[in-house]
Amino acid sequence: MNPIIVNKLAKSYEKVNALKGISFEVEDGELFGLIGPDGAGKTTLIRILASLLLPDTGKASLVGNDVVKDFHEIRKIVGYMPSRFSLYTDLTVQENLEFFAGVFGSTIEENYYLIKDIYHMLEPFKGRLAGKLSGGMKQKLALSCALIHKPKILLLDEPTTGVDAVSRKEFWAMLGKLKAEGITILVSTPYMDEASLCDRIALIDKGEILSVNTPKGIIALFPQKLYGISTPNSFSLLNHLRTLPICKDAFLFGQEIHVTTSNSNITCESLHDLLSNSGFTNSTVTLIEPTVEDCFMQLMGNNR
């Protein structure tokens, strides 16, 4: 049986339907990404899995334990990192670790091998108050605290939000190592570029799952050809493209504009000529492989 099973899970608050009956499964030892913007329902889902919230309808289980009935069991096997910074700011790094180890009836030494790498980075600051750490370090400490009892399943709610690009990369590298230890990891993130670092991902928006697949699989399902256009003046080209009838979607992607067309006869050359004729002479057009973000936007568009 898969360690995480989510079956038609629904939850609504007063006004909003946070989850509209979603289903998916996470396999043993998988690094599974839950990818979607704020308000997609990521936090609600993770809290239900952590047995902190009750679903309205549907079922979910972790290693065979029902999240509603068997919450005592679940709390023994889960490591959870909420989206907010959730450590004691007035305790030092060392004291936080000791405390959380104590809460789980464990010690830092017992599962030291798990947090060794992270702890190594934290060690120079172990006497520092957690409140005085930088964002990246806080996040590493929070991860250590969630790992200290050697959980079977790690639930991480937006661990990289608000953290700079370098710390994010380091954090994902750590998740890779934990996966190698056999821990099943469910991680949510609003950063689409982190999708490629997961084994499989679920794209989620407005309480619905748009797609569940490997990042490559999701990209392979992109229904159209995607053109990348580079030009020195992207914004005016973007506005121009949107006036063209053959253009389906046009979005900025860093230095490029990603364009899909409704006309399958279009080629890079014909598109380039079309633009040149309109005065955008020094643009280059290439056929490109979509990113997960392209797929997300395309699926979001279908969904609306």
Binding site: S134, G162, V163, V166, P190, M297, M300
Partner: protein, 247 residues
């Protein structure tokens, strides 16, 4: 480079908190109508610099002028001439769209017919006239973000500071937000923006990368990529930010 009007001029800006040097000798200029990206790792000193430039914090030393005003003695004038929007979209959830606009308009000294006209203008620009009596809490995130941006612009400031304006927003909304930023800059407003999305760094006219309180790089995205021999701003950033020694 053609001659442009300088809107922000910073020479040797230093800000210390006790022994800690948050901003170490920053020098840069920002021009009118420019989108100026301000990148840096957590704790590199971005927030401090933004607070000084928006008149919230007095610098320790250095020559700083913002919109022609002195950052020591004319902080109130600076505040009156800039707009500020943070990632938290500081709107009142329990007030309606119109009430929020009216409140913030009032703060910036708009009143009577001018305020009313500005509210109507803003609502129609945002295509939100229909929803003017809806509570903020009932709006989708993307709308809140656009409204929050428009409200930060309600007094037509010469500079707008955006502190991680797109955090957590869906990719489509994020892009339409940048189109909004661009059109505002085209109309002559200077945009000073921070972000953790490296693709957004590419949309800026020029980008500053701060490391450990100092400016490590400042140029257009294209030149930066050339200088550091990188394919994307993400690579440039990671290359520079890895040098950081602070935790």
């Amino acid at each position: 480079m053609e001659k442009k009007e300088i809107i922000i001029e910073v020479e040797n800006l230093v800000k210390k908190f006790g022994q800690f040097v948050a901003n170490d000798n920053l020098t840069f200029k920002v021009f009118k109508g420019e989108i100026f990206g301000f990148l840096g790792a957590n704790g590199a000193g971005k927030t401090t610099a933004i607070r000084i430039l928006s008149g919230l914090l007095e610098p320790t030393s250095g020559k700083i002028s913002v919109a022609g005003y002195n950052a020591y003695s004319q902080r109130d004038l600076i505040k009156a001439n800039i707009g500020y929007m943070s990632q938290k979209f500081s709107l009142y959830d329990d007030l309606t769209v119109r009430e929020n606009i009216r409140f913030f308009g009032g703060i910036y000294g708009l009143y009577g017919k001018i305020l009313k006209a500005r509210i109507d203008e803003l609502l129609s620009d945002l295509k939100m006239t229909e929803f003017k009596d809806d509570l903020i809490s009932s709006l989708p995130l993307g709308w809140k973000q656009r409204l929050s941006f428009s409200i930060a612009m309600i007094h037509k400031p010469v500079i707008i500071f955006l502190d991680e304006p797109t955090g957590g927003v869906d990719p489509i909304t994020r892009r339409s937000f940048w189109e909004m930023i661009h059109s505002v800059a085209n109309q002559g407003t200077t945009v000073f923006v921070t972000t953790h999305y490296m693709d957004e760094a590419e949309y800026c006219d020029r980008v500053t990368i701060m490391v450990d309180g100092r400016i490590e790089a400042l140029d257009s995205p294209a030149n930066l990529k050339k200088t550091f021999n990188a394919n994307s701003m993400d690579e440039v950033f990671v290359m520079l930010a890895r040098k950081a020694k602070s935790a």
